[in-house]
Every structure is written in C-alpha cells, then in structure tokens.
C-alpha cells in the first residue's frame, strides 16, 4: 500500500491538457468515464422529464396537457433516451472507470477509440433530439420502430435511423475496448477467474453488444431502404413481411435487455460482500450463471411477439426457454442472499440500493415469468402490466444498481465522501417513489389498461393518479442525487483509500483519489491474490 502511494506520488504532475482540450482530446479512462457518466445523467433527466409529461397527462382521464401525437412521441423518445442515452452510457462509463483499476491495467487498451466512442454519443443524441423540431414531430411509433407504422413517420424518420446507427457504432466500439482491456491488459498473475464479477459481467455484456447491436443496425438500415429506395424487406405490397422486422428486432431486443442488466449483477456482487463483510457466496457459479443467461438470451426473442401468431411448437419452445432463464437468475439471487447469511451487515447508501435492487429486480423477474406463459401473455400483452414489469427490472433494477455503484465508488473517484444522510434520504424517497409509481401499474394492466395511450377509461383513474404521484416523487428526488454527488466532489470530507472496511479488490489498493493513470506498474502478486478474495 505504502509502495503504491509513493509510486503514484508524481502523478499529479502528469501531462494532462487543461480546459476544454482535456475533454475533447481525452484518452484517459477516468476522464472518458466521467464524461460518459455525466452524459448519461443528462439523458436520464431529459428522459425523466419526458416521463413526467407522460405521467402528468395520465394523472386524470381525458386530454389535459398534450395532444395524442406528442404523447406518443414522448413514450417513444423516453424509451430511446433512457435505454441508449442513460443506462447504456452509464454502464460504459462505469466500465471505463473501474475495469482498468480492477484488472490492474494503466488505462483502457484502446484509448483513442475510447475517445471516439464517447464523442459519437452527443452527435447521435443531437440528431435524435432534433426530431422534436422537424415537421411531423419526433418518432411516435414506439421505440421498437415496428413497420409499417414507423415508415409513416415524417421527417424524423431518417434522423432517428442515423441516430441509432451512431449509438450502435458507439456501443460496439466501447464493447470492443472493454473486451480487449479485460482479455489483454490484466496484470501478470491475474487469471480470468480472479477477476471481480463486475469485469466478468461486463465481459459477457460486451460480447452480447458486439453480437446484437449490428443486427439492430441491419434492421433499421432495412427500414431506411424500404422507406427511401423502394426495397421491400418489410413492405407487404412488395412481397416483404412486417412480422419479419419484429423477429429481427427482438433477436437484438432480448439480448439488449440483458446488456442493460448484466453489469448491474456485477455491481451488486461487489457491494453485497463488502457490506455483509463476507466473501461472495458461489463466485464461480455467478460467472457460469451470467454466461448461461447470456446464451439463453439469444433463443427467447419470440416471447415478445406471441400475439402475432406462431405454430404451437414455437410458442412452447419460446415459453419454456424463457422460463429456463429463471434458473441461472435464481442461482444469482440465492448466492446474494447466502452472501448476507450470518454476515455482519451495515446499511450504508450503496448497500441500501443494492438490497432494493435485490428485492425489486426479483419482483420484476417474477412478473416476467408471468408474461412468459403463452395463454396468460395473450391477456397481458401490450397492457400496463408489461410496462410495470420492464420498469421494475430497469428502474429499481438497472438504474438502482448504477446509483449503488456511483455511491460505492465515488469516494475512490473523487477522494471525498458523500453526505450519508442525504444519500439515505435519496434512497428512501427513490424507493418509496418507484414503488408508488410502478406497483399500481400491475393492477392497471391486469384490469385491462393498454399501454401507449394518452387517455383512458374512467375505471383506471384512481391507480393512474397514484402512479403519477409516485412518478413526481421519484423524479424530483433524483435532484438529490445530483446534489449529493456535486456536494461530495466539491466539499465532501476527505475519504481514506479504503472507505468501506469490507471492500476487497484491486481498485481499493490504489491511493484515494485514484491517480490519473491507474496501474503504471502492475500490482504485485500478493496484492492481486489479496484483492481477489471475492
């Protein structure tokens, strides 16, 4: 420890450019990680504002604030911003910060590519947000872009497609960087099965990204040529098949939802052992469970489209393979519980978020199992039950894990502690808000309320009002998150190198704040083996 402190003492005099150039020309994994996280946060608030437009309109039956076309644009843009703008860049940002530190590397393997993958994003989202101001308005056919509806969009159509192309290229290049860093840049002596689970889950996520983002790029390219160049991939009048798009889209779409959640498994697997003060239960089974989930994600896509019609054998196959995913996921949930069993648990903010993740993600998983049952799905399909399901796995699932990760590693990044009291307040407001927001949507869906509608029948009024109240509590309490982070970075108390006594892993062997270049000299073997006590 003392050794590495002196080894890094000169790092503050490192040749880093100052001002705007530091960010424009950034090749440092920490600078780029910070930019990813700030960008994701901005998109999170923009997508969140759109969600509040939706919930304000749905506060009461009738049309209050926006016209139905704009409402549909809001649902579509909210999804695109949150998925591609907030959650995915946040994970890439965390990977940028943590992967080199955790595997004992000085930086990411491909620093200039790293810069390029980040800087594609502002352009991608400028294109996407421009659609709000073009004739015909922003895309309003749902983020799934099903033809023929998506082909009937106005001038927003090509902008949306090119935005998706840019986002796709950005995340593929980011994923390549993560794979190369993990496979080639690990410190001498660090085997693959010595890596922290965050690196493992990201490695698997990166392979998923490389395998399916290009398929989405292909699908939207086909939409583009159908619209402008007279091809008929999905146009029935020319011999194409609109259902074909759904198959290609969900071949991307289902692995995509695991891209959003697998890194969350990694973060939670770091945090729970730290605050339970016990090694992670079943490390290897965690790795194999993650790999199994990733494999299964490729063979379940048609469960998103049971209602378009398919042979009985197909329905059975996709129903059973979907249910099979519950097995490795169950292994993970069991392992997290077993990690806490007889541990001496303390409840700091990161742990609180990780625990809420554990409960609420599992709940979202259960409603997913309900949706997997074909005859039941015919009832639930395109209802608010689906909305409740995927928001449970994405908000108190992926988003809570991102926040847990930020709280957990912020002292290492900034060298300062956040305000625990405000952190806890943020946690409780978020957790209560998110449940008031999404739990009633289960009831609405089971009662028959369809998704993507600006107005509804009066029997749905009460729960919609409750849900909207929850939305505003949840939405505004996120301002606390910005405050906590800002406050910590500006004027937090100085943090020790290992602010959590139960934390293991190479990142905690570095001085605090983490030096500009992580491991200029690889960590010695005894540090690696100590750090690898999962």
């Amino acid at each position: 420890m003392a050794n590495s402190t002196t080894a890094h003492a000169h790092d503050d005099h490192d040749h880093k450019p100052h001002g705007i150039k530091r960010w424009l020309y950034a090749t440092n994994h920490k600078d780029i990680g910070t930019m990813y996280l700030v960008f994701a946060c901005a998109m999170f608030f923009m997508g969140g504002a759109m969600a509040l437009v939706i919930r304000a309109e749905l506060f009461q039956p009738g049309l209050q604030f926006v016209d139905p076309g704009f409402f549909n644009s809001m649902t579509t843009m909210h999804a695109l911003l949150m998925i591609f703008g907030a959650v995915m860049p946040a994970w890439t940002g965390l990977a940028n910060w943590m992967v080199p530190m955790q595997v004992g590397a000085p930086d990411m393997a491909l620093p200039r590519l790293n810069n390029f993958s980040f800087w594609l994003l502002p352009f991608a989202f400028t294109l996407l947000l421009l659609t709000l101001f073009v004739p015909g308005g922003a895309p309003a056919g749902g983020w799934t872009l099903y033809p023929p509806l998506s082909l009937q969009a106005g001038d927003s159509f090509p902008l949306t497609i090119f935005a998706i192309h840019l986002m796709g290229i950005s995340s593929i290049l980011g994923a390549i960087n993560v794979v190369v860093t993990i496979l080639n840049m690990r410190a001498p002596g660090m085997g693959l099965l010595n890596m922290p689970l965050f690196c493992w889950t990201w490695l698997i996520t990166a392979y998923l990204l490389i395998a399916v983002m290009p398929v989405l790029a292909g699908a939207v390219t086909m939409l583009l040529t159908d619209h402008f160049f007279g091809t008929s991939f999905f146009t029935a009048s020319g011999g194409g098949d609109p259902v074909m798009f759904q198959h290609i889209f969900w071949f991307f779409g289902h692995p995509e939802v695991y891209i959003l959640i697998l890194p969350a498994f990694g973060v939670v697997s770091e945090i729970i052992p730290t605050f339970a003060r016990k090694p992670l239960f079943g490390y290897e089974s965690m790795v194999y469970a993650t790999a199994s989930i990733a494999f299964l994600s490729f063979i379940v896509w048609a469960h998103h489209m049971f209602t378009v019609g398919m042979p009985l054998a197909g329905q059975l196959f996709f129903m059973l393979s979907t249910m099979l995913i519950a097995v490795p996921t169950g292994v993970k949930v069991f392992n997290w519980c077993a990690t806490m069993w007889k541990g001496s648990i303390s409840f700091e903010t990161p742990m609180l978020f990780a625990l809420a993740f554990l409960f609420l993600f599992t709940l979202g998983g259960f409603s997913g199992l309900m949706l997997a049952i074909v005859p039941a799905d015919f009832q639930y399909h395109d209802s608010y039950f689906v909305v409740a399901h995927f928001h449970y796995v994405l908000v108190p699932g992926a988003v809570f894990a991102i926040m847990a990760g930020v709280y957990y590693w912020l002292p290492k990044w900034s060298g300062r502690m956040y305000n625990e009291k405000v952190g806890k307040l943020h946690f409780w407001l978020s957790t209560i808000g998110v449940n008031v927001l999404f739990f009633p949507q289960h009831f609405l869906g089971l009662a028959g309320m369809p998704r993507r509608i600006p107005d509804y029948s009066t029997q749905f009024a009460d729960w919609n009002m409750v849900s909207s109240i929850g939305a505003f509590i949840f939405g505004f309490s996120q301002l606390l998150f910005v405050y906590v982070v800002w406050n910590a970075v500006r004027s937090g108390e100085k943090a020790p190198a290992r602010p959590w006594e139960g934390a293991h892993g190479l990142e905690w062997e570095l001085p605090t704040p983490a030096p500009y270049h992580s491991w200029d000299t690889p960590p010695p073997r005894n540090v690696i083996t100590q750090g690898a006590m999962h």
């Binding site: 393997a109 660090m190 790029a217 146009t235 042979p311």
Partner: protein, 187 residues
C-alpha cells in the same frame, strides 16, 4: 496473465480488435441473412413459404371428396381508406376438397389517376396455408387500373383433400395495395 512486452501487447491488442470488428461485421450481415434464413426455416418446419401464395400451384386432378364440406371465407382489406373499394362477391362458400372453384373480387379505382395495384394474400389458420391451392389469381401479377376503372377479378382454387380433418373453415384474405414503385421492384 503473464507479463508481456509493450510490443507484444500492442500486437495482441490490434489482433483482438480486428477479430472483434470482424465479429461485428459478421453480425451485421447475419441480420440481413435472417430474412432468407426464415424462409428456409419455414420450409423445413413445414410452415410453408408465404411467398408461395403469390405463385400458381399446379394441381393434379383428384377425385373430389364429396363427403366433406369445408367453409371458405373471403375477406378484402385496404391499407388506406377512401381511395379504393375492394370486396369479394360472396362472403363465404362451402366447398368439397379436391374440386376446382372460382370466385370474383371487385375493385374500383377511386385514386383519381391511372395506377398499379398489388393484392397480397394470406390464408388463415396458418396450418391450412399449405393445403390451399390457387391455380389462377389476380394476385399473381400487378393489376393495372385506369382512372375510375371498376374490374372483376377471378381467383380459382382447390382445397387439398389432405387438409387435416380438424379444419373445417379456411379464411382467404387479400390486402389490396396501391403502390406502383414497389410493384415494379417485386417483379
């Protein structure tokens, strides 16, 4: 990982990066390949190729199954309202499997210009598709329509006697697209 020199590491990084880029390019191509692959899959699993519905079937003369009656329903759909009328002359008929029948659809061009239209058929339930044979159909070729023209267009079909016994009702549906550019691309 074992310790390696800076040169070796750079070479390894470059090789792996190229492999991964290759994987991404392959995945892009795979997205396009899914379209023919689905046709192959449907062929292999016996679901039948929907594009076959646009081709004439050759029917060997069979003895009609006089003991069996199957109801065939006829449906006409228009993707946009107002620019055409399009409907079958009868809503349904009872047929003996193995016998050739003919019915007519009537279309009236209200678009206010000369145009080309293409009818796209589907047969429901999906299981019946392979047993519904059309020997002649207005959907096999694009139909030229003069402004305000009304035309009666025939379809001749046979229901295969091998139609599973569980099926006694088949729906033939046409969607009538007015689309000159795409019709050209199809042929």
């Amino acid at each position: 990982m074992a310790a390696v020199s800076e040169d070796t590491r750079e070479r390894r990084n470059r090789r792996l990066t190229h492999q991964l880029l290759g994987m991404a390019v392959g995945a892009f191509a795979f997205g396009f390949a899914l379209i023919p692959l689905y046709d192959v899959l449907c062929e292999v699993t016996g679901v039948g190729n929907p594009k076959d519905l646009l081709k004439a079937s050759t029917v060997t003369v069979e003895t009609p199954d006089e003991n069996r009656l199957v109801t065939v329903e006829f449906i006409a759909e228009l993707p946009t309202v107002g620019s055409w009328t399009f409907k079958p002359v009868v809503a349904e008929m009872k047929v003996h499997p193995g016998r050739l029948y003919e019915i007519d659809y009537v279309a009236h061009n209200l678009t206010g210009r000369d145009t080309v239209a293409q009818a796209v058929p589907t047969v429901s339930p999906g299981k019946a598709t392979a047993f519904f044979r059309k020997t002649e159909c207005f959907c096999f070729v694009p139909q030229n329509f003069a402004r305000d023209e009304t035309r009666t267009m025939p379809v001749r079909f046979v229901v295969d006697p091998a139609l599973p016994k569980t099926l006694d009702r088949i729906t033939l549906s046409y969607t009538f697209y007015d689309n000159s550019t795409r019709v050209a691309a199809l042929n």
